[in-house]
């Protein structure tokens, strides 16, 4: 009789293990299906850290080139113009003393490789005297 109990216990344990194995396989299968059925994330939705780092570096390169262009120009070199770039869009800010200087700065910035757009936030302030 104790032998029969042992045999039943062993059989029950084996059945449980087998059932658990089946369930685990099933659940893994459904996970895979869910993943394969889910729509692939769009590339433009979110930039990977690498893409974002590259973008930041590209923007820094554009900023450096715009600054160099403004410093090399006889008209704009006289002013301290701030340059910021985000995703190729350059923003110029600071003070200049003529509308021509502001226009010149914008046109120089537009001419730099990698610049997609220029936002001119320069303020014209006539110097006294």
């Amino acid at each position: 009789m104790p032998n029969l109990t042992k045999a039943l216990l062993v059989a029950a344990a084996l059945s449980c293990t087998a059932l658990a194995g089946c369930t685990s396989t099933e659940s893994r299968k459904s996970e895979t299906t869910a993943k394969s059925q889910a729509p692939a994330p769009k590339k433009s939705d979110a930039a990977t850290p690498e893409e974002s780092a590259t973008q930041t570096l590209d923007d820094s390169v554009v900023t450096a080139k715009v600054k160099a262009k403004l410093v090399d120009d006889p008209v704009t070199k006289a002013y301290q113009i701030n340059v910021e770039t985000f995703k190729g869009t350059v923003q110029l800010s600071g003070f200049v003393d003529s509308a021509e200087a502001a226009t010149r700065a914008t046109s120089l910035a537009k001419d730099v490789g990698g610049v997609k757009d220029v936002k001119n936030s320069l303020q014209v302030r006539k110097s006294e005297g």
Binding site: V61, A64, K65, A68, D72, G113
Partner: protein, 137 residues
């Protein structure tokens, strides 16, 4: 002696005539098509060279930024702008030379002085385009 002089004059006259010889419409069409294909390839090559040079120059700016060397950043950025300006000039000149080649081939449809005038005009247009490209730098 006189015979030699006569031969030389005759040869020169023949060469001049051959220079401005009118080509048949089919020949002109063939030469123009070839010039157009060459021109397209040369301009595309120039564009590719310029793109590569600009990418190299930008990489140097990026490296200087990564190294946090402000002097190097300013110098590399200045150089990158120079490279870009030279590149624009190179493309404009390549395009002008390409247009010139095609124009000269088209001139072969004309004869004599008209052909010579046509080629002179094409040369003048090329020179003007080159000067304009340099002036725009």
């Amino acid at each position: 002696m006189q015979l030699k002089v006569l031969c030389a004059v005759a040869a020169a006259a023949f060469a001049l005539t051959a220079c401005n010889k009118q080509e048949s419409a089919a020949e002109v069409q063939r030469d123009v098509s070839k010039a157009q294909a060459d021109a397209q390839r040369e301009v595309a090559d120039a564009r590719a060279d310029v793109k590569e040079a600009n990418a190299d120059a930008d990489r140097k700016v990026a490296n200087a930024i990564t190294d946090h060397d402000q002097d190097d950043v300013a110098k590399a950025a200045h150089d990158a702008n120079e490279t870009a300006d030279k590149g624009k000039e190179k493309i404009v000149i390549a395009q002008a030379e390409a247009d010139h080649k095609i124009a000269v081939e088209k001139c072969d449809a004309l004869e004599g002085s008209q052909q010579r005038q046509c080629k002179d005009d094409a040369d003048k247009t090329l020179d003007q385009a080159k000067e304009a490209a340099k002036a725009n730098r």
